[in-house]
Amino acid sequence: MNAILVALLEIRAYLRDKGGLAFSLLLPIAIFALMYGAFGGQEQFHGTAYVVDEDQGGIYSARLIEQMDELDELDVELLSRSDADDRLEHSDLYLVLYIPQGFSDKLTTDEKLPLTFKQRSNGGQEGQIVASMVRGLAEEINQGLQVQNQVEDALAESGIGGEKVEITVQKFLDREREHPIVGIEEISVGSSPDPVNQFLPGIVTMFVLFSITLTARTLVEERKKGTLERLFTTRLSVGQLFAGKFLANVSRGFVQTLILFALAYAVFQKFTPLSFGSSLVIALVFAAAASALGLVIAAVVRTEDQATWIGVFFTMAMTMLGGTFFEISEGTMMETISRFSVNTYANEAFYTVIARGGTLADVGFEIAVVAGVAVVALIIARSLFKVAQEGK
């Protein structure tokens, strides 16, 4: 009973603290929106090819540009040479394709003119992709011309006109493009690159873990302002105090997750009722671990600043290792290290139930690890805890 009263007091204080509320609820929503905005729209490459076409009236340059424009991934923007040079100079563009004057005419002669890519440093990631696409298209035109030349050469004696050959060869090539012999099909394997699934668990666990800073601070604050010492002149036992603080922070972490997931449910329809329920179970266990870790920090630190810094540092370390912001590849050193982060297990459990349709049974191991952290941390916190501040 006393424990519950302590918890209620703590929660009441938390609800009155507008800054704390904003930090633990609004900030994760904002950060998630940012991550979603930054990575969400970029599943498919899309770039702009900047072209200076000085081969006015040339049929091959026109064909090349037309084929570039037909690609979904590319937009074509035509520039004048001076404009392009100027923008390259000012790092406004990173890569420009120059089609020289007489390019088409010379293509069928022996003194061919090359296409030129002008780039700043390596042309940037987008520029490199654009360049390789253009190379592919140029190669196609090249092959077409070679086939045409060979056919023309072979038929030279038969007296069949060059123009007719050209039309026929082009027809074959167009058909080949539409129905290629070597087909290429794209299948995404493994984790779907869905940004919601990718970032949601990590950001939620990060902010639940951040609340360890609040946990740690409240105990230090209470020690400092004397309410802790005062509490221990009442009938409240250390165990009850611990239980109360633990309970308050578990509830806070849990409600935090509940709100964030409920929002994700409403906005992205990422959940089924079952996966939502399972996620809440994981959330509860993780909130318990976070709360217990907060109590450990509270038991060892002496000032609020220490509590904050250790809390923030610990949270960031766990978050990074938990693969929140970047994927950790399997079999790497990083993956081994990431096994030391509670977030890794929680994130994996969330991911399994949300993205892969797993059940709680599938994440039994992960849940057990997180629960184990909670129990061990509670025991450590309890044994390190001192009521009175003796050495000032």
């Binding site: 009441r12 002149t233 009938r235």
Partner: protein
């Protein structure tokens, strides 16, 4: 022989090698108001912290109401109310919430806690600010809330550590009258203050402490008689005579 409600024997406490309390013994009778006086750093607060179970003595033992502080801290806690020298309040909550919470912590049910909180706030002249956030209170008001909390659950033994420090004469008078009222109701009180007139008026007996030891202990009247006519000398004269005029840190 009156019943001894509190017995402290040979208390010692040192912090980092400095003896804050260095062999203190005294006893307090039931219904008595006992003043613990002494210059800054004399060891009064340290003594009270040991008596109220939050600090373990290095040596010596304490019994309150027959319960040993070492062996039965819970039994002791059930009897005492403490008003610490430093304000110990949840400033982000209202005065009422503070009192109710601590009331629940000393074992009152919700209804009792609310009723007592209201009557104590009334006693302290804070009834109309009951719902106000403590953060916004003046120093004197906070002091009164600090004291009101100590009264929750009507403890048999009340510890007051400088409960009138830093308040205006009005607040001080209010606190003072409250303590007198409690004394008249038969509450046993251990009281520290730097206001000698206060101690003279309130206390049945006083102990004067300096540098961790008790250097005199008697009724104010008897102490005054030691240095002159008790109707002409003040307790302050006695205090200064015994503890000297050098400044303490």
């Amino acid at each position: 022989m009156p019943e001894e409600f509190l017995v402290a024997r040979n208390l010692h406490k040192s912090f980092n090698g400095n003896n804050a309390v260095n062999g203190v013994s005294f006893s307090i009778h039931k219904g008595e108001v006992f003043g613990l006086l002494g210059p800054n750093g004399a060891g009064k607060t340290t003594t009270i912290r040991m008596l109220t179970t939050v600090l373990e003595p290095d040596r010596g033992d304490i019994e309150i109401g027959g319960h040993s502080v070492r062996q039965d801290a819970e039994g002791v806690r059930a009897l005492i109310g403490v008003c610490p020298q430093e304000l110990a309040l949840y400033v982000e909550l209202s005065a009422m919430d503070n009192l109710v919470f601590f009331g629940r912590m000393v074992g009152l049910n919700g209804k009792e806690a609310k009723a007592q909180a209201m009557s104590h706030l009334d006693l302290m002249g804070l009834a109309d600010r009951a719902k106000g956030k403590v953060d916004k209170f003046s120093g004197g008001m906070k002091r009164r809330v600090n004291l009101a909390i100590a009264l929750m659950g009507h403890p048999q033994f009340l510890f007051l550590d400088e409960s009138t420090v830093g308040v205006d004469p009005q607040s001080r008078n209010n606190i003072y009258e409250t303590i007198e009222g409690l004394r008249d109701e038969g509450m046993t009180i251990l009281y520290t203050t730097h206001y000698m007139d206060e101690a003279d008026r309130l206390c049945d007996r006083v102990a004067i402490m300096d540098e961790g030891v008790i250097i005199a202990m008697d009724t104010p009247h008897a102490l005054k008689s030691q240095i002159g006519n008790p109707n002409q000398v003040t307790l302050e004269d006695v205090f200064l005579k015994l503890t000297g005029r050098t400044l303490r840190d």
